[in-house]
Amino acid sequence: MRITLDVDRCQGHGRCYVLAPDLFDADDFGHCVLLVDDVPAGREDDARTGVENCPEQALGLE
């Protein structure tokens, strides 16, 4: 499972890195930075939580 980020859509709501801080981080502007591309085994639920809470649908799973 991979996380995808559309940087143009991200507006810095900060939901992903608050909910799953070891998968997502913030840059200096508060926008999302992916800490992993491939979701580690057993972390699928946290990845999904980070992705699905994004109000901009900037994150995806594939």
Partner: protein, 395 residues
């Protein structure tokens, strides 16, 4: 009151105001039956999540140009009334100053402030939560953040109310107060900027004054236009959110106990109550071109209200959002707006709300509305006129 499809009461006055509705969810449900409502000569309302979201993402069409929000200001509010590409310049300066990592450093100070405020009435066993807590907290945090004297608190509250809630029933009646207040705000910050140039400080205002993009510093006018927006966008909205959250909890003891007994629930409870109450229930935009939504033509230059509150409870988009679940996941709500104009202060607001809810419930876990109270919400932005609470006197 019953409104027809156009949002007018039988007398012709506009009754679509989610902010002051006793039950904005019911009003939202009614409004969502139609994708667009047109209130002739005033504005269009977008009611569904999908349409609100699409509009927020098209700032070139649904613009936030100065006509969208007129609050006595003589120049565009920065960054709200500026659209891309210029908007990017301002957000590049301001976003880092309000980023979560930066805001987290404030937490200890907010804890102290919240407890000082609770100290004023804890032993009494009662308070008007609105007057005594929700109003002073955000304004005090703002003064600290900007390095301004706490003695100016009452004047700031007057400035905020003079713009957001001026006396008068119509725009025309309200205009003189707004204009006078706006002049006072500009004059206050002009004086402050001059003082800061003589005696530099180390605070948010100093950081803004020292900011530059591509080597170009902000002009004094730009700094004033940022400060103006801070007052009107940063103070009232946190008061509104506090009123909404505590107004809800005072009437829902099960949910109150759920978060009072387990503080790990608080962050998600705050997201959920911001969604449910949507303290800023609508954001205004002005069209730059003709568009059509759901067969309804809307013309360039016309105003459109994006109904955040209705979008946040749209169960066609997200099943199950017509009730409160403090542990809701996922909860991709739009209470802080969305798109390029996403609330700049959202991370500051979240810290204030989280600390306020946590510290309050440590001190006063059980409280209730003074019997016989009927809560009345304010128009435009959803705060309470009063929120009288009683509780066992606490230490």
């Amino acid at each position: 009151m019953e409104a027809d499809d156009e949002g007018r009461s039988p007398s012709g006055s506009v009754v679509v105001d989610l902010a002051s509705a006793d039950d904005p969810r019911a009003m939202s449900r009614m409004l969502r039956q139609q994708r667009v409502h047109t209130i002739e000569g005033m504005f269009h309302l977008l009611t569904r999540r999908e349409d609100v979201e699409a509009a927020l993402r098209k700032p070139a069409v649904y613009t936030s140009r100065p006509e969208a929000v007129q609050l006595g200001n003589i120049r565009p509010l920065i960054p709200l009334s500026v659209d891309p590409p210029k908007h990017v310049k301002y957000r590049r300066i301001l976003d880092p100053l309000f980023a979560p990592k930066h805001m987290a450093a404030l937490e200890d100070e907010v804890v102290t402030l919240v407890n000082q405020i609770v100290d004023r009435f804890a032993a009494k066993g009662s308070c008007d939560f609105h007057e005594d807590f929700a109003v002073p907290l955000p304004c005090t945090v703002f003064l600290r953040l900007m390095g301004l004297p706490l003695a100016d608190l009452d004047m700031f509250l007057e400035m905020k109310d003079g713009i957001i809630r001026p006396p008068g029933a119509t725009q025309e009646e309200q205009e003189p107060t707004r204009r006078r207040t706006a002049q006072n705000i500009y004059a206050y910050f002009e004086k402050t900027l001059a003082e800061r140039r003589r005696a530099p400080t180390d605070d948010l205002l100093a950081q803004i004054m020292g900011s530059s993009v591509d080597g170009v510093q902000l002009t004094d006018e730009e700094i004033l236009d940022i400060c103006f927006l801070f007052i009107i966008a940063g103070l009232d909205t946190v008061t509104d959110s506090l009123d909404c959250i505590f107004g809800y909890l005072s009437q829902e003891p099960e949910h109150r106990r759920q978060l009072a007994s387990d503080e790990s629930v608080i962050p998600s409870a705050i997201e959920e109550l911001l969604r449910w109450e949507s303290p800023v229930p609508a954001v205004p935009r002005v069209l730059s071109e003709d568009v059509e939504v759901g067969g309804c033509p809307m013309k360039a230059g016309e105003h459109v209200m994006l109904l955040i509150g209705a979008a946040n409870t749209d169960d066609a988009a997200h099943p199950g959002v017509d009730s409160v679940d403090l542990l809701r996941n996922p909860n991709p709500h739009l209470a802080f707006g969305g798109g390029v104009h996403r609330c700049l202060g959202s991370h500051l607001a979240r810290i204030e709300l989280r600390v306020a809810v946590r510290e309050w419930h440590k001190r006063i876990p059980e409280y209730e509305l003074v019997p016989g109270t009927v809560l009345q919400y304010t128009e435009g932005l959803r705060s309470l006129h009063h929120l009288p609470l009683t509780f066992a006197p606490a230490g």
